[in-house]
């Protein structure tokens, strides 16, 4: 794995988990007899997953320390909220996706920050 790709791996995991969560939420919203068919709750969970996906992309792009921290904080709140929504919607696969997303976030947090990266002379 190339160095840049390895640096982005956490965000990539988060992105994939968010997209999977989005797909599950949309399935739950549109498919009959899911228990949450056509409900606002399923739609909100889908929107939250979409927002997480966007933030995962941003996480790959931003370099500033402050912006990164703020973004990670927002993502953590988003994951927690979506997990809770999935719990209340009885959509356990959304929760599973959020757990994976959290792992992605942790990986991202664990990666060396841009400020600590060795300079290439």
């Amino acid at each position: 794995m190339s160095q840049p790709l390895r640096a982005k791996m956490g965000a990539i995991v988060l992105l994939i988990a968010s997209l999977v969560g989005l797909a599950i939420a949309l399935y739950a919203y549109f498919t009959p007899l899911t228990g949450v068919t056509g409900t606002l709750g399923a739609l909100v969970a889908g929107a939250a997953c979409f927002a997480l996906a966007v933030m995962a992309l941003l996480l790959m792009l931003v370099t500033g320390r402050g912006a990164t921290i703020a973004l990670r904080l927002l993502i953590l709140i988003g994951i927690a909220g979506t997990f809770f929504a999935g719990l209340l919607l009885h959509q356990r696969w959304i929760d599973a996706a959020m757990v994976v997303g959290l792992i992605g976030l942790i990986i991202d947090i664990a990666r060396p920050s841009s400020h600590a990266r060795p300079a290439h002379f």
Partner: protein, 677 residues
């Protein structure tokens, strides 16, 4: 004040009803105030217009064979099936073997009013018969759901007396001694919003030419007092022998006057009227109305009695226009099936100003109490009381006491309050109405004390605190939709266990002078809980007690399933039923759900019930109350499930039609379950 009026009483000779998600709860519970819409009322005590024609042999209280050929399965309203193929060990294997979508559904956003579909499927003639809220009859193959025939009444789809298109199904009759080769020896009946009763041949779906006017009986032709408002036949007739006993639904919350609650006995073959029973005394019929029978009835054919659950008179929350005694209103009344004469009656709410209609058919049961076998009847009520009496005489099984209740606060003119009300000593009330409902700390905290403030502004002096014009009004608990709704009580005759589902909702009601009402109601429409009681000096406002987030201000659970040992009158077990849901979010199971619809019991030891907000259908253990199985339906199954056997296989059929009062979700699904082959 008399609570027990024997047939010899002179009145009967002259006179014949977690945060964001928690917000969901509020919205779910709000419209429950409107549940009391389907109300009926009566008029005269059994004027016989024609000799009865009965050729059916009396059947025992509990049929020897499995039957599910009427609204409650059987005329005894036990909702019991002796089938035991599905039991506690295998119910978890149940699978949906067929489903049908009728197409007769509206969410109210188009040209049509919303639909409310609470039909119990009727199994008879090797066919499943179902009425729809578009007033069609479907005859389905019970094993596959394939349509045998359908009949469209072409009825108006206008909400004439109700805010929704409502239907609670069809009734079935067959001749005890059929004329060979003649049509209509088996008939299916369906009523409509504009009070037309249709009779069609059960085999072909063709109208019965020999019934009334080519298969259509106009019941509104007998609506001759306060006839400005039509009658509605939303509940199928109760078929007793060759009689169709007809009640109707009206509109008693909107007007002071309304058609008085007459009950009609109709010849099942010809549609001719046999007798008319009038509930309200003659002296109040012009200025009041309803006290009708808007739900199904029960009957004991061996005793020759039909039992009427009678609703309250109009208007719902002010009784200054009916201060004369109306002993048959808000009662259980037993009539002679042949003549319509009153045999006995028990009034459960004196001078009803809380809309506490008797809203479910009494369940008939033979029970053994202290070693004595008693032909009993249990009447569930909106108040959450269960009154148990001898069904032959109306006398108490366990003592029913008249206890003092609060009088008015002097703010309502013309009102005369009943000094006492009947309280059963056993079984214990299904809901604890002994004290002011406790404030839910969570709802109070997240609204920064709004619930506490509301509680302080509500007048409450105990059960039966009357409406007032003061403050925010008077707190009422249970609410007007009922601690127990029209689903009533199911009963296992083998083990003498009764089961009933409840709702726990707190409301408050305030009366407004006509002038103040017109100001308060301007621009608010009906959605805010205002009702005009037009013609009365007071309009009213009825609200569910919630905080600004929509959370109920009182403690959960919001609905329970309760099992009673009828030999002792004691609670066997109780548990929250269903799950409250809003915006798709499910609340904790311990909170339960308000319920509309009723349970069915089988000899396999299973309780089947939908009824809850989360649109799931469930099976519970009759012995322990443990949830054993569930499946997702299209909408809340606000009906009574049907249990039947066809070609050696046991089926359970649910109608998932929804009711906007419970949740803003409608459906057109018939879902039928069985064990895998």
């Amino acid at each position: 004040m008399p609570t027990f009026l024997p047939a010899t009483h002179p009145r009967f000779r002259s006179v014949t009803s977690v945060l964001g998600t928690a917000t969901a709860l509020a919205a779910c519970l709000t419209p429950i105030t409107l549940l009391a819409q389907d109300q009926p009322s009566p008029q005269k005590t059994g004027s016989q217009e024609q000799g009865p024609q009965t050729n059916a042999a009396p059947i025992p209280l509990v049929p020897g064979e499995p039957t599910w050929d009427s609204f409650h399965g059987q005329l005894n309203a036990q909702k019991y099936s002796p089938l035991e193929q599905i039991n506690a060990d295998n119910v978890g294997d149940l699978e949906k073997v067929w489903e049908v979508h009728t197409g007769d559904v509206s969410d109210g956003h188009g040209d049509l009013p919303p639909t409310v579909w609470s039909a119990t499927p009727v199994f008879a003639n090797d066919t499943l018969y179902i009425g729809t809220p578009f007033y069609r009859i479907l005859a389905l193959d019970p094993g596959t759901g394939e349509e045998k025939w359908s009949f469209d009444t072409q009825s108006t789809l206008e909400a004439l007396t109700q805010p929704a298109l409502k239907n609670r199904g069809v009734a079935y009759w067959e001749a005890a001694e059929p004329d060979a080769g003649e049509a209509c020896q088996k008939i299916v009946y369906l009523g409509t919003m504009d009070a037309q009763l249709f009779a069609v041949d059960a085999d072909s779906g063709e109208p019965c030419a020999s019934f009334a006017d080519n298969g259509v009986l106009d019941v509104n032709q007998w609506n001759n007092t306060n006839a400005e408002w039509p009658l509605s036949l939303l509940q199928p007739p109760t078929v007793v022998g060759d009689h169709l006993i007809l009640g109707w639904a009206g509109k008693d919350w909107a007007f002071e006057q309304a058609p008085p609650g007459n009950v009609f006995s109709i010849n099942a073959r010809t549609g001719e009227r046999e007798w008319t029973f009038e509930v309200l005394p003659e002296e109040v019929r012009e200025q009041s109305g309803t006290a009708n029978i808007w739900t199904h009835m029960s009957a004991d054919e061996e005793l020759g009695l039909v039992y009427l659950p009678v609703s309250s008179p109009s208007p719902n929350y002010w009784g200054g226009n009916r201060t004369e005694s109306a002993p048959l209103a808000t009662s259980t009344t037993a009539l002679d099936i042949e003549t319509g004469e009153v045999v006995w009656s028990r009034q459960w709410v004196h001078h009803d100003i809380w809309d506490y209609d008797i809203n479910s058919a009494p369940t008939l049961m033979d029970i053994t109490v202290d070693g004595e076998e008693i032909p009993a009847l249990i009447q569930a009520t909106k108040m959450g009381f269960l009154f148990v009496v001898n069904r032959e005489t109306g006398e108490d099984v366990w003592p029913i006491e008249e206890r003092p209740v609060p009088g008015g606060d002097g703010s309502v003119e013309g009102e005369v309050y009943a000094p006492t009300q009947p309280f059963p000593t056993k079984p214990a009330p299904l809901l604890d109405q002994s004290e002011k409902p406790k404030i839910w700390a969570l709802a109070d905290a997240v609204s920064f004390g709004q619930c506490s403030a509301l509680w302080e502004d509500l007048w409450y002096e105990g059960m039966y605190t009357p409406p007032t014009t003061q403050g925010e009004g008077a707190l009422t608990y249970p609410d007007s939709s009922g601690g127990v709704q029209w689903g009533g009580v199911a009963f296992d005759p083998e083990n003498q266990i009764a089961v009933v589902n409840t709702s726990h909702i707190v409301q408050y009601v305030k009366l407004y002078s006509r002038e103040d009402y017109d100001k308060a109601d301007s621009g608010s429409g009906n959605e805010s809980g205002f009702s005009p009681q037009e013609g009365a000096p007071y309009g009213m406002r009825l609200e569910v007690a919630r905080n600004w987030l929509g959370m109920p201000c009182w403690e959960p659970p919001f609905g329970e399933l309760v099992a009673l040992d009828m030999t002792t009158g004691d609670v066997k077990w109780r548990r929250p039923v269903g799950v409250t849901q809003q915006y798709g979010f499910f609340m904790p199971e311990s909170w339960g759900s308000p319920t509309i619809g009723g349970p069915a019991i089988t000899a396999g030891g299973i309780i089947f019930i939908g009824a809850s907000m989360d649109a799931k259908v469930r099976a519970y253990s009759l012995e322990t109350g443990e949830e054993l199985w569930s499946d997702q339906a299209q909408a809340p199954s606000v009906s009574i499930p049907a249990v039947y056997e066809y070609e050696g296989r046991q089926y359970v059929a649910f109608i998932a039609g929804g009711n906007s009062i419970l949740k803003d979700q409608v459906g057109d699904q018939v879902a039928v379950y069985a064990l895998p082959k």
